[in-house]
Symmetry: C2
Subunit: 397 residues, 2 copies
């Protein structure tokens, strides 16, 4: 047994989160793609079965009240809230991330408008997962603003009295770089603009502190580190002080203050439900609700500590096992700049990932040359990291 | 046994669709709320269980390809297509009805703009289910148009060279009135405007003929007569000739022509997938796909014939059993003007519906004074209609 294998054994033995792995359905694959689709929590199938067979099949329409379907979007929002540092009543679940980016960004521009300063520009993260950029372009077009793409590090210099809102990613989907949410939010506020954060690659992997850092609006998906299932609904956070000013571009009947009054005149609900749109996708939504129970008794700080230890250890193993120069890590070394993934560049990344998957190490490939390995501290251990690095080295050799 | 009971027995015995009831999970309740939430198809629970346990739990990320998750929105669209008279490749499934109304109406206004005639007005059905009106208001605001609410019968006179698009309901959610889609669409086209139809209360209950009648854009939900489950995703239809001009206000990465190319520049996909937005809600979507199998071998014309026979018979029973003047039907007598529901007005409708539900006759109440009874020909029979009318009469007495 190699020294690193022995070290992995010790680290796993000392890992206070190790027992959480039993809360998931896993096999002998090393699953390092939880940053794309989280693993299945073991109790979710029976819960979904109950939703389908009893709530839908037997209670039918009565379940909108009796099974709590109607209030699921805000109830599940409150369940996500502590994971991202939000008080109850700030988050609503529903729709896709893209649709929520649209709601958040248009609403942010409208709030910026209220000051009457003619703020004409939206800034967007130039390195963003593409959908945010596409949707930001549409939001700019529909609100008559210009859109400018800048890297997060360029944001402080790019801010001006023209800036209405800034859309940023907390963790870069490709490199795994963690951006400085507190200081960027402060800089955006100092310029009089609104900060909209996309938490897809950070929520459930590290502390976010939405309330603490005064983030204005935020969105995120729930199928990565929150393990909600394929395409489980996304969420929208609106800072408490801004909730009465949230003016949705998608004012569907679910966001009405009296949805069953069937009034032809729109009157927005107070609080988080104002971010709702149409009838929620109950099966996907209640699977997510069940999945969030794996967080019972789990501290996000402990998850973050393990995440950093895992990615440190994986990088150590990769360096020990792989010929120097064969891959280049594009994930920052500094903990303050690292999310919960390791991204390695090599020219033949697409082919290498196929071979890794065939050997039971599942990461993913991101165009054009990135091997992406996501570390979900709830179910990935140090022996997994060592094994992945070892097999990677063999395939790179 | 009363004469009407005997008649119901004969009608049920002669009903060629009667056997379809076994495709659903039903009990001894008379379920006349399938126009709000369709009953559970019997084979759906096992299919959903497979999606959760095997596709998500075992295959995990591989299911995006291997289980056909990625292509589900257009594959399921093709499954809905014959039910609404559309050829394959015209319909995509995803998001809520409200979100699809937004896509369709903004895209319609943009298409109207291409003619360069400065069409400044959107018309919306004044009797619409409220969400369409709220969303139309938002679409008008974001595209700089005015919105005018008119009843469907007023549409021909309201059309002008200023009209960009008209948003109409095929069947009125409250009264059950069926509007004349072919002639209204023709009138809208004669005025040079685009016709956007909401099919929520018609699809699966009667023939729609989208392609045949040249409808421009259409949306609909799938949890009523299509039995897709609570909050199952909605769909968007775009006429073939208009597909290359469909300019979505929600251009999420799923609608990109090369979504995994991760380009920062948006390039829309051809065809129906251009109506996609973000990651689809797979559990809700694949439950819908399974549910649509109950339509195998079923003719929409036969469904329509039974629907009219059922609502005729129910009205006959209500008239026979209920004191004259106690309720007033707001559902048209003429078949050409009737959807698949019967709406009865009485001042105490809210209380009456509660008592009906307590006695196993499930319809719903629509503010302020409407008892609504939906007839789903796939699983409602004539004896159900007679029993519902009899118990209704007892509760009204």
């Amino acid at each position: 047994m190699s020294e690193l294998s022995l070290q992995a054994e010790k680290l796993d033995a000392a890992d206070e989160l190790a027992a959480l792995r039993t809360r998931f359905v896993l096999d002998d694959v090393v699953y390092l793609d939880g940053n794309s689709l989280g693993a299945l929590p073991a109790h979710v199938p029976d819960r979904v079965s109950d939703v389908v067979r009893r709530q839908w099949g037997e209670l039918r329409i009565r379940s909108w009240d009796e099974s709590g379907w109607w209030t699921a979007p805000e109830r599940i929002g409150d369940r996500i809230a502590p994971l991202v540092g939000a008080a109850p009543g700030r988050i609503v679940v529903g729709d896709s991330t893209s649709v929520n980016v649209f709601k958040a960004l248009v609403a942010a521009v409208r709030m910026a408008d209220e000051a009457g300063e003619g703020r004409s520009e939206i800034l967007v993260d130039a390195t963003t997962f593409p959908t945010d950029g596409y949707i930001a372009q549409s939001a700019a077009r529909l609100t008559g603003r210009t859109l400018r793409a800048v890297t997060p590090s360029q944001v402080p210099d790019a801010l001006s009295a023209r800036t209405a809102a800034v859309l940023l990613n907390h963790v870069d989907y490709r490199t795994g770089r963690l951006h400085d949410l507190p200081s960027l939010t402060s800089a955006i506020h100092a310029a009089g603009a609104l900060a909209v954060w996309d938490l897809c690659h950070s929520a459930g992997a590290l502390p976010v502190g939405l309330d603490e850092h005064g983030v204005d609006l935020a969105v995120g998906c729930t199928y990565k580190y929150l393990n909600g299932g394929p395409g489980s609904p996304a969420y929208l956070y609106v800072r408490e002080e801004l909730q009465p000013r949230f003016d949705s571009p998608l004012p569907g009947w679910n966001s009405h203050t009296d949805p069953f009054g069937m009034s032809p005149d729109y009157a927005p609900a107070p609080g988080a439900p104002r971010g709702r749109v149409g009838t929620p996708d109950i099966l996907s939504m209640l699977a997510l609700e069940a999945a969030l129970e794996v967080w019972d008794g789990v501290s996000v700080a402990a998850v973050r500590a393990k995440s950093l230890a895992l990615t440190d250890f994986f990088l150590t193993c990769v360096r020990a096992y792989t010929e120097p120069g064969r891959v280049e890590s594009v994930t920052p070394e500094r903990h303050e700049e690292r999310g919960s993934q390791v991204a390695l560049r090599c020219p033949d990344a697409g082919e290498v990932m196929k071979r890794l998957i065939a050997r039971g190490v599942v990461g993913d490939f991101r165009h054009p040359d990135v091997l992406r390995f996501g570390f979900t501290p709830l179910y990935v251990g140090f022996a997994d990291a060592e094994r992945a690095a070892r097999i990677l080295a063999e395939e790179l050799a």
